[in-house]
Every structure is written in C-alpha cells, then in structure tokens.
Amino acid sequence: MTVDTSIFPAPDANAVEAVLSARNVAKIFGSIQALKGVNFDVHRGQVTTLFGENGAGKSTLMKILSGVYKPTSGQIILDGAPIEFDSSTEARDHGISIIHQELSLAPNMTVRDNIFMGREIRTMKGVDFAEEERQCRLLLAELEENIDPRVKVEDLRLGQQQIVEIARALSVNSRILIMDEPTSALSASEVDVLFKVIRDLKSRGVSIVYISHHLEEALQITDHAVVLRDGNMTAYAPRKDIDLEWIVRHMVGEHFNLGSPPRGYEFGEVVLEVDGLTVSDKTGNQKLVDELSLDVRAGEIVCIYGLMGAGRTELLECLAGRLPARQGKVRLNGRDITRTSIAERIASGLVLVPEDRQRDGLVQTMTIGQNLSLANLRRLVRGLFTSTRLEREHIDNAIRRTTVKAGSPDHLIGSLSGGNQQKVVIGKMWSTNPNAILLDEPSRGIDIGAKAEVFRLLAEGAREGLAVLYTTSEVGECLSVAHRIIVMHKGKISAEFGSDVTKARIMAASGEAVVH
C-alpha cells in the first residue's frame, strides 16, 4: 500500500521511511511511570524489533501504538500526521493490528468464526459462512498451514493457534503488524514458516514491529533494532551495525544496585530438598517441570532464572502444594511433604509468595491488616475467637518488619502502591515463621526502589537462617542477593552458577542468546 506523504509536512528526515512514529510518548499507571518519553519509528516495509527486559515498557509502547492505551503525554504520528486512537478498533481501521503475547482467540469457536469475529460477512440470509470459509482457506494456504477452518481453536496445537491469530491480523489487510512474542509457543519449523511469512509481508509493503525474548531469532529477521530500558529508549541502530553483544549491553545496562549476597556466616543444614520432581500440564501429556532436583540450605539464597514457559512458576506452585507432583519427592527439614496440603506445608514452615499478587496474593475486599494476618489466623485464636490484641501486635510487627508504608492497617489493600502490596504479601507469608520461603517473581510490576527493598528483606531473612528460593526473568536481578543462580529451560536445570557469573552466560544458558 502506498500513501502519498507529500501533502503532510515531514517532522524530520526519518519520516520519509517511518510509517508510524511515537514522539516523546510517556505513560503513567498510578504511581509507576512505565514509559518516560520514548521516540520510536516503525520503518515502512521493514521489520523493526524492540528489545528490552520484562518491565522495560515494550508491551506498553505497543499497546499505545495499537490504540489499546492512550499515552499520558506525547504524540503518535501516522504517515506524517499526528493521530489519536480512541480504541484498538480505530487503530485497526487505520491498518494497525497487534498480535498479543497472550492469545486472544475464543477456544470454543471454529477457526473461521475466530478469524471473522466482529466482522462477519453478513448477507440478507445471515452470515455467509461459505465465503468466510473460502477466504480462510486462502489465508491459511498463504501461511502454509493446513488447518481446516471448521475446526475448533481448542483442538489446535498452541503453535497452530498462533498461526490463526496471525491469519486474523492479516485478514484485515493490516499495513502495520505488531507481533508481541509471536514465537514463544512455536516449534522450530513453525518459526521458519512464520519468518517466511514475515519476509513475504515485507515484500508486500507491510511494516512489522517485532518483540521477542529470543534475541538470536529476532536478529535473523529484523532490519532495525530499538532497545528500551526502564521506560527509556536507550539505543537504536540498523541491523548491519549491531550484534548480540550490542543488544545485551544496552538491554541490561548499569542496574540500580539491588544488593549483594549476604556473607560472613556459614549455611546451615539443607532445608528444602527437591528430588526428581515432575509436574505435568492439565492434560498430563506435557512435562512442565521435568525430573528436576535441587536443594536449598538454611541461610542460602537461590535464584531461578528462566524465560516465560521455562517451568519456574509450576515448580514453585508444586513445591507449595498448589499443583500435584507427578513424580519425585519434596522434603522439608528431611521430612517428606510431597503429599501434604498447602496449609500443612505452611504449618511445617514452607511458604510461597505467588507471582501474580492480584490474582493469588491478596484479598482485595479486605484491609491491609486482615491480609497480613490471613495466613496466621490459627495462631491468633484465644478461646473461640481471634484475639484483637494479638492480631494487632502481629500486624504491627509484620508492617514494621517488611517496612510497608501504609497510613493505617485498617485501610483497604487497594490503597497501597504495587511495591507496598508486594511487601504485604511477603509480610503475610513471612510472619508465619517459615524455614523456607519461595518467591515467584517478587519484583514483578514494582518500581526499582521497592525492588531493592524486597531484595534487602530477602538478604535479612537469609542472615536469620531462612532458606530463600526466588525466580526472576530479569537477568540483572539474578546478580543481586543470590548466592547461587540456577537457570531453567524447558522444565530442566540447564546451568548452575555462583554469584560471580556474568549476565551474558546466564542468558546463554536460558536459551535466550548464545554469546561467545
């Protein structure tokens, strides 16, 4: 598609080839500044890849470009003219489509119905299913995928579902296609097909924005690279000027000091012992955690690094008793706890701080204090009822220990910032006096200052003899308080390092990049 840009004044030299640009775009969510004035160009008919760690602001920027969010300040320029999108539908009408990281298909409906969802071909006699089906077959044939349009989406493999999602974006004749981690669910051969499709789209003049954690894969396909870090654009270069090392250097940068491993004491006995643990998905066909073994000693902090889908969350949820173990043993202080309930594990000293604090960590209808005492209520009962005095003491202790900044413990939990909410979740579990604490992405969605405080808490706990196991998907956080770093890849441990390892080696072991 060609658009005559001569009638619009070009803001700068780049505009000739930039079909869509963000100028000084900032986005603030509550107290968190997700984007701090970013400039970003989508090059016409080429692939522009956006690199950055989790929380760097990639997805936020893409959602602004595709009309899902409105920027707090700054401008979006389409074909040289400023534009504002009120909704993603409006952006779609301008030819901008986004393929989200999480699939947005209705699994109970057929491929055909999904592709034409919301834009059914209507005739006097109802929907023209035959025509829809014909177009579907054409689209899918183009993508070299032999999928019957009448099959339900839930009966397709994850990779095929991804292809359907892509077909849907193509079916609206997008001229700008944003792909957020499109390969995370694809097999190697499916990735090859996708890349062939991307090259084909380029030749037809479609501009593509590509986001991926698989750096090498992205380098195969990209024409331009943009790196985001902590809401800022830190680097831009065309493909010919860059290599993996360049990307990693700009992605990771010089991090805020997140602490160092606590030293000057001996580790105690092994507290948590995992032996050949296997966790399957719901269908039982796929192993999410594959015969994994590890142990954590008293006073030791172990970090598990891995990409999305590496099995970190499943491992921790199984250790905490939420998911059943298919094989293997979990021992706490030498006692087998593999078959015990969550409550029994908490009572015997193993607790989990879950990844998604809104969904799994907090009761939104309760106050800060009620959330803090929830895991400990049994110990606060005197006679028939909970003792108000004991509960108050318990809450005050927890708040002091985890340095939660709250006006009053009687306020609703939702009145706190993300970082303080996270401290409440940690405080709730920590106040049960555990021997071992598991934290799934404890730094997710909190600002850098709160991160440092969370890690300081972990270091403090370890000094007091707590065994700490936490996961992260930000490589900089491995090199903070952890004594030992374990890298997980596809349900297995792919490498184990001491705290003196480099970021590049960790990323290499996770399957993210191979740096020589």
């Binding site: 989990l352 960590g361 309760m366 929830l374 009822f385 006006g407 009687d410």
Partner: protein, 346 residues
C-alpha cells in the same frame, strides 16, 4: 458488627469526604426501613403499634433466619437456592417424627420427645447442606446447579413422605410426653415472640462469628479471593462444606419455626423463600461476588422486605402489586450495590 467495620470496608478517600449521598448509600437499608415504617404509619394507624410490630417481626424471623444462612454462602461467593425446599422438608421431617415412628417388626410406635425431634431435624438439615457443600467444594459443581438440584430433590422427598398432604396435628399428646412443639411459634419470652428471640440470638452468634472468629475471616477470604486464601493456608473446601451445612441447618430452624407457628407442616411450605432470602442479603449490602456483607445489613434487609410486604397487606394493596413492589426494591438494592462497589475492583 460494630460501626468500625463499615469504615474498614472503605478506603480513606471515601471516609474523608462523607457527604449525604455517601451516607445514604452506606445506610441505605436502614434508610429504606425508616421510609417504609414512616410511610405505612401515616397510611394506617394500626401499623406502628407494639402488637403489629411484634407480629410483623415474627414473620420476619423466618426470612431472617434463612437469610443468615444465605449470607454465609453468598460471602464465600456461592449461592444456595435450596433453602426454601429444605425449610419445607424440615417441617415435614418434624411432622413425621411427631406422628410417631412405627417399628412394624417390634410392633411398637415410638414417640420421640420434642427436643429429640428438633435435634434430628436440625441434623438432617445440616446433612443435606453438607451434601451440597461436598458437591461444590470437591466435585466442582457450580453452587447454582448443585443447590438447584437439592431444591428439587428436597421438595420431591417432602411430597413423597406426605403423599402431597399436610401434617395437621403437631401439638403432640400429653400421654406420649411429646407436647410443646408449638412453643417456638406461639410462646413469648418477656412479651417477645420466641421466634424473634431465636432470630436475635442467631444473628448475634453469627455476627460475632463473622466479625471475630478465624472461621469468619476464612469465609470472607474465600469469597474475596479463593486462590489467595488457598495459598495462605485457608482450608477452602472445609469452609465451603461448613457454610452450606450451616445454611441447611438454619433452613431447618426456619422450618421448625414456621411449622410451629402454623402447628402444621405442608410439603409446599417455604416455596420461593430462597428468593426472599437472597433479596434480604442483597438489600443488606452484600456483594453477590462474595467477600462483602455482614449480618447487621442482612437483618435490615430482612426487615425491609417483611415490613414492606406486611405494610402493603395492611393498607390493602393487592397481592399482585406486592410482588411488583418487592421486585422493584430488589432491583434498586442491586443498583445501589453496584454504585457502591462499582468504582472498586471486585
């Protein structure tokens, strides 16, 4: 529950700018009750008399007792459609036992004393409720469906036992030593009907349990966020079984009170009472999503419904209009609930 609990449920911002609108939304059930009482006392001189208030309260007692059980279930995020049927069946069980149990093999008829009848009826209600609880907690049957099933089963059993007829003579017989069943429905303690005293005692007990006990907190946590509650060590399945068992037991209490008031037990007693109980809970400010609500509000809700429908009878409004008014009040209550909770994440 005390006043401080209401303030706990509101963020600081809302507390600072207390205005008339907020106050009305907060105390809407109380305001509605006031409006109803004032309106009907103006319409009829007989409305606001001690004797009428006590009569109306003894009607409210049935709804109120059911509504307490319903509140427990709704707080966990569930719903119990079976309370009306269980109420009816409980009356039938009590009636059946009062008639004497015949053991053909031994050729004797056993007349259990009234206290034993009461205990057995309550145990039966709790048993029926715990079946629902097990279905919901362990078999993952949606509460709506599980309790709908129990609704039909209980009603069917009640019809089967009585063959569609009504037990009329629940007075007992002095020679068998099983008199006194009508005490619940007819007698007064210090001038107050026993049924109202029963309601007050139950409301007090469950009010304290919800506000002060660990079990009460588990109920709120289960309804507020089941996943978070589970990961905090709350025995979520146990909580589910308990609330449905308690709801079943409270339905039996209501069944005993009703059949005692009528000195008879019919298989259709309590028909559609589950809707009145749900309405009372909702008017009382509880959220159908679970996690929000308290006994005080629910009691106000029960009185709003009871005083409204009795008032309409007293001023001679047709029964058909009563249904329309009750429906309108319920919709209004839900509307106000969504106004109150709408701005917050549920």
């Amino acid at each position: 529950m005390s006043n401080t609990d209401v303030s706990k449920l509101n963020p600081p911002a809302a507390k600072q700018k207390v205005n008339i609108a907020n106050l009305l939304i907060e105390g809407r059930a109380f305001a509605a009750l006031l409006v109803i009482v004032i309106f009907f006392s103006l319409m009829s001189p007989n409305y606001l008399t001690i004797s009428n208030l006590l009569i109306m309260s003894s009607h409210v007692a049935i709804y109120g007792i059911l509504a307490i059980g319903m509140l427990l279930v709704i707080l966990t995020g569930g719903i119990d459609l079976s309370v009306g049927s269980v109420l009816g069946l409980a009356g039938i069980i009590a009636g059946f036992l009062m008639q004497g149990v015949t053991f053909n093999s031994m050729g004797i008829i056993l007349y259990p004393p009234v206290w034993a009848v009461v205990v057995m009826t309550l145990a039966f209600g709790a048993f029926l409720g715990s079946i629902t609880g097990v279905l919901v907690a362990y078999m993952r049957v949606p509460a709506f469906v599980a309790t709908l099933g129990i609704l039909y089963v209980a009603r069917g059993i009640a019809l089967l036992i009585t063959n569609g007829l009504t037990y009329n003579n629940l007075g007992g017989n002095a020679t068998y030593g099983n008199t006194g069943f009508d005490w619940l429905g007819f007698n007064r303690l210090f001038g107050i009907p026993v049924s109202v005293v029963v309601l007050a005692v139950l409301a007090a007990i469950f009010g304290i349990v919800l506000a002060r006990s660990a079990f009460g907190r588990w109920i709120y946590a289960t309804g507020g966020n089941q996943r978070a509650a589970e990961l905090s060590g709350v025995p979520v399945p146990f909580v589910h079984v308990c609330v449905y068992a308690l709801s079943g037991m409270l339905s039996s209490v209501a069944g005993l009170v009703l059949s005692s008031q009528l000195t008879s037990a019919g298989p259709t007693a309590g028909f559609t009472y589950e809707m009145i109980a749900i309405a009372a809970v909702v008017i009382g400010g509880a959220s159908l999503n679970g996690g929000r609500g308290n006994v005080r509000g629910t009691m106000l809700g029960a009185f709003v419904i009871g005083f409204l429908s009795d008032g309409l009878v007293i001023i001679g409004v047709s029964a058909y209009w009563q249904t329309v008014f009750t429906g309108a009040v319920i919709v209004l209550a839900v509307l106000l609930n969504s106004l109150q909770y709408g701005g917050k994440r549920l």
